[in-house]
Symmetry: C2
Subunit: 277 residues, 2 copies
């Protein structure tokens, strides 16, 4: 089954476009779980978050950086976290990878084969051949950074670029490439930050049927209704609305998992309301 | 001491612009060292390579991907590899990182603080704010991908971009930004592939005094003399010519470390000859 089929099934089963970001920040882990600098605390935290949200999400997305900050034990916790997630829920490793040749092959071997993630996020700057070891895996997916959620993302992404007789912002030329990679490989998705709803609508128009991963709702300030309406595909889906801090750190006491569940339900429902409005 | 001062000192001490890439490929590790899929074999390999080349290089550059492919034990081997390298030789972690906000902070904490690397390579696509946690570390360095060595690097990097009234290829706008980041932070370097000597000369003209890391000599096909002449700074230095496969896999038998040493001497001397010609 392709990633897209699995994503659609997970989204229909849960009635949800919510993707929960599993980003363990030592400054925010509930203290009763154990020392914040111990990767076992991360694993206990993730286990509780996963158990309390597994029926509410279409996907999970751990970000590699937070795990590497724990060293070798963090990588172990990351691999184990993937194992804790039911196999029918796709897991996207937010690794923002972008390298070349046999190095990309090594990354794909780690992320897809050894660690068993269903998808990765990638940097487009090095071009198609650099991503081929990821794109060519027909049962996985590759989410290409198009327009990122950070305040300064326009620095390069918004620059007008002339390409094939068209002049438009770089992020749209990246979306155009991803559209073609989708035609060639069938494994492409996009990343567009919720903080840029106008650009999200443009990207959706350019790529009507690609899944779009949308970080930046909540803590980063993106407005939910605007975002959802800008990003839905013609069938009313095709979005993964990612929330990390707003869900996983909704509570910090012994009831943090229940607090996360309540926050996830609220967000799932708000997304669904925006889908229908 | 700043990274640049340490780099210059290492380069003068060794009389060398050679940077050796420590990229353990399980398919190419000498079989007598142990099982190729065991991270301890990687460490034994790196130890021998480092011991036999330490007086011949200005820096080492391990690529994160090859270590992650070994899982948690690979990260341990990477951290231990850094410890094996004498502190006066700068070590660049080729992680091609590019993320935002508190995630970039987590990466910086891992790569610079916990693992003690002197520099990292970064993707520019997400803009200055995404790189600030790296750039702002006055005792470290950040090598920005400008024009990469892979065949398809022109896909986006060569597109003409209009920026501040100037129209030129994207990679030159990235070089221009790096030049300003250097003015602001003093910690910037560049990455330009040896496979593109014309573009290397352009980038050098734009950024006369930034260190340029140049991968792609040898295995990837870049011509050494052309590359060195295109990339030297006005003082006849400022280059890190990276070689991995051509040096570390020069031999595969029990004498692999001696073979690596011979290859490194040959390359160091060839680089120095090109500097003077």
């Amino acid at each position: 089954m392709s990633f897209r089929e699995r994503l659609r099934a997970a989204s229909e089963r849960s009635g949800s476009l919510l993707c929960v970001g599993l980003d363990p920040d030592p400054a925010r882990l509930p203290t009763h779980l154990g020392p914040a600098d111990d990767a076992r605390t991360v694993l206990a935290f993730n286990r509780a978050i996963i158990e309390s949200t597994t029926d509410l999400v279409c996907a999970y997305k751990p970000n590699l950086g937070f795990y590497l900050a724990y060293g070798p034990a963090g990588v172990e916790a990351l691999i184990e976290t993937r194992r804790l997630i039911p196999p029918e829920i796709p897991v996207i490793l937010d690794a923002k990878v972008g390298d070349l040749g046999n190095t990309s092959v090594a990354y794909a071997r780690a992320y897809f084969d050894a660690w068993n993630f269903d998808a990765v996020t990638v940097h487009p700057y090095m071009g198609e051949d650099s991503l081929e070891p990821f794109l060519s895996r027909s049962d996985r997916a590759v989410f290409v950074l198009v327009k990122t959620s950070n305040p300064g993302s326009g620095d390069l992404q918004d620059l007008p670029v002339t390409d094939e007789g068209t002049t438009e912002p770089l992020y749209l030329r990246v979306a155009e490439r991803a559209r073609r990679w989708q035609g060639r490989y069938g494994t492409c998705g996009l990343v567009v930050g919720a903080t840029y709803p106008r650009q999200l609508a443009e990207v959706r128009e350019r790529c009507p049927d690609l899944p779009i991963l949308v970080p930046g709702v909540g803590a980063q300030g993106g407005d939910l209704t605007t975002t959802v309406q800008a990003g839905l595909d013609p069938a009313g889906g095709g979005l993964l609305i990612n929330a990390a801090r707003g869900v996983i750190y909704a509570g910090t006491g012994p009831d943090f998992a229940q607090a996360a569940r309540r926050a996830a339900i609220e967000l799932r429902d708000a997304i669904n309301q925006a889908r229908q409005s």
